[in-house]
Amino acid sequence: MFTEQTLKQVEERRQEWENLLAKTLARAPERRERFSTVSDREIRRIYTPADVSGLDFDRDLSFPGMFPYTRGVQPSMHRGRLWTMRQFAGMGGAEETNARFHYLMGHGETGLSTAFDMPTLMGYDSDSPMARGEVGKCGVAIDTLADMEILFDGIPMDEVTTSMTINPPAAILLAMYIATAEKKGIPREKLGGTIQNDMLKEFIAQKTFMLPPDPSMRIIVDTVEFCTAEVPRWNTISISGYHIREAGSTAVQELAFTLADGLGYVQACIDRGLKVDDFAPRLSFFFNAHVDFFEEIAKYRAARRMWARFMRDRFGARNPRSLLLRFHTQTAGCSLTAQQPYNNVVRTAFQALSAVLGGTQSLHTNSLDETLSLPTEHAVTIALRTQQIIGEEIGVTNTIDPMAGSFFVESLTNEMERAALDYIEKIDDMGGILKAIEVGFPQKEIADAAYTYQKQIDEGEKTIVGVNKYQMDESLKVDLLTIDPAVERRQQQRLAKLKEERDAGRVGACLKAVEDAARGRENLMPHLIEAVKNYVSLQEICDCWRKVYGRYTDPGMF
């Protein structure tokens, strides 16, 4: 992008500046010997055209909505429509969560996002011994379609898009969503939303796993195949870096492992016989917005460019929509502190700003109390207002990709792309992401990065305000949300009553059909929809899968 002449001039001026700098440093040295990002990536003192001399505007940047999409996936980006403000919500039973949904939508939220409790996430009903003490604690408890009908009571399912953060039993929750809508008279082709459905990152990072990797992949491909044909507006997999980062990865690892997971899913769907341009437009992504402002912006820009090139060059995608890396962002939960919790509002605002400048399609801002419990209504309102202030007050959405052309941001974008490609090459050499997971490669890389970071914190090399610097005795207390233990009993009673009332013969037949499909090659989705419509419970289906496929257990490396 720069002429020889310009680069020569830059070099001359640089010499001048170095001399000037040497004098300043002789008088007053810099604050640190080495400056680095939160991921420990070293950052240079200054960036100039020389750092991006190889950058080609047309090849590497271009315009938003145009290949390689570095500058955004839509031509008008946030000038056209702001990102979807989508606060992750779920607590107690379906009644409580439905009330929170209505509250958020009444205050300007534009999409729903459902958090499930641990038993639901792991494929257990509220009456299971495995669920003791955990029902409704970190999300909503869903056992059967009866709960789902309460959860979406009064919600216009043909107008609002809903995201469901669920992985091992994702196909079952999708079946319940479809069944709930159809009972309201809304056809499945009108439904828009997302299931997370990303088991690869579960094995790598979040560790909510149930079945071994191969059957997990088979069920995921079933959902992709089914939705491609019957639920065309549904995002079938939310390929997630968020949890990889929360587990302690660096920004480059988040970028690399997430895209490697994406490549794994695309390959698995192609292996099933699906055509890339039929299903790829409905894959979406989910990234973390951590504290290192520029590193995050560079990460999002690099991700878009890398994905577009992979889809075009590796898989031969021709539909422009197949090339788009559309993503949701959540601010970094792991960056929040229990100490001086009001500081979390500030952290979250900066993180959200990086996601917006990085061109996100959807955003969750954490509440100040989320390091302590699920958010109160008061805290979640501040979090939502943070997004509204960024979108409508501070002017950052007036122009598209305002960071483009910054010598620093472009250079960092290139560097992160290169480093992530190195990881992906390594994973390709291992035989793909499933093989890499089998030998614990990403898991080990993340654990090492997490340990290094903790040591840097403990030694004061990195600062967390209020934790290892600027500590104080606190008298300030925040109100916390607690979950009534009565929810567990209510949930168990509802399930017991329902099990008595439903048609046992039909339940048995449905489970038999699910088991046959699981043992054979037929797509599971139609059988799951039929089963949930007959009030077969989540655990009954998961037990059937556990019987057919076996379980995956944690190798427990540290």
Partner: protein, 132 residues
């Protein structure tokens, strides 16, 4: 003759999959010279107590970040009592609201380490309170 190492069981009770903290503590304790056994994820209180007895550990550290600590932690104490192993002290960590801490201590959890605790603080606490 070398002194016998203190043996620590780091355990993840319940369905919660957040293992970053547990693994960092496990590794930090190992680097500090303790013998460390890590249960891996998704352990029932029964399984944790059985492992503790079988491995003959000197102390158990339990971690929970998904809100079920008020059931799971005291349940472990209860089971240790039932098995005649209540001489094994238990400490906890994770997302534990301040108001829950005195309740857990009353139930027999000896110490609670909340987010932001340096690994060294846990190391020091074990050195001060646990005999091998």
């Amino acid at each position: 003759m070398s002194e016998k190492k203190i043996k620590v069981l780091i355990a993840k009770p319940g369905l919660d999959g957040h293992d970053r903290g547990a693994k960092i503590v496990a590794r930090g304790l190992r680097d500090a010279g303790f013998e460390v056994v890590y249960t891996g994820l998704h352990q029932t209180p029964e399984e944790i107590v059985a492992t503790a007895i079988q491995e003959d550990v000197d102390v158990i550290g339990v971690s929970s970040l998904a809100g079920a600590h008020m059931y799971l932690f005291p349940r472990i104490i209860e089971l240790l009592g039932e098995q005649g192993a209540d001489d094994i002290p238990v400490f906890g960590g994770g997302i534990i609201p301040e108001d829950d801490i005195p309740v857990l201590k009353k139930a027999g959890i000896r110490e609670i380490f909340t987010p932001g605790t340096p690994v060294e603080a846990t190391v020091n606490w074990i050195r001060e309170h646990i005999a091998s």
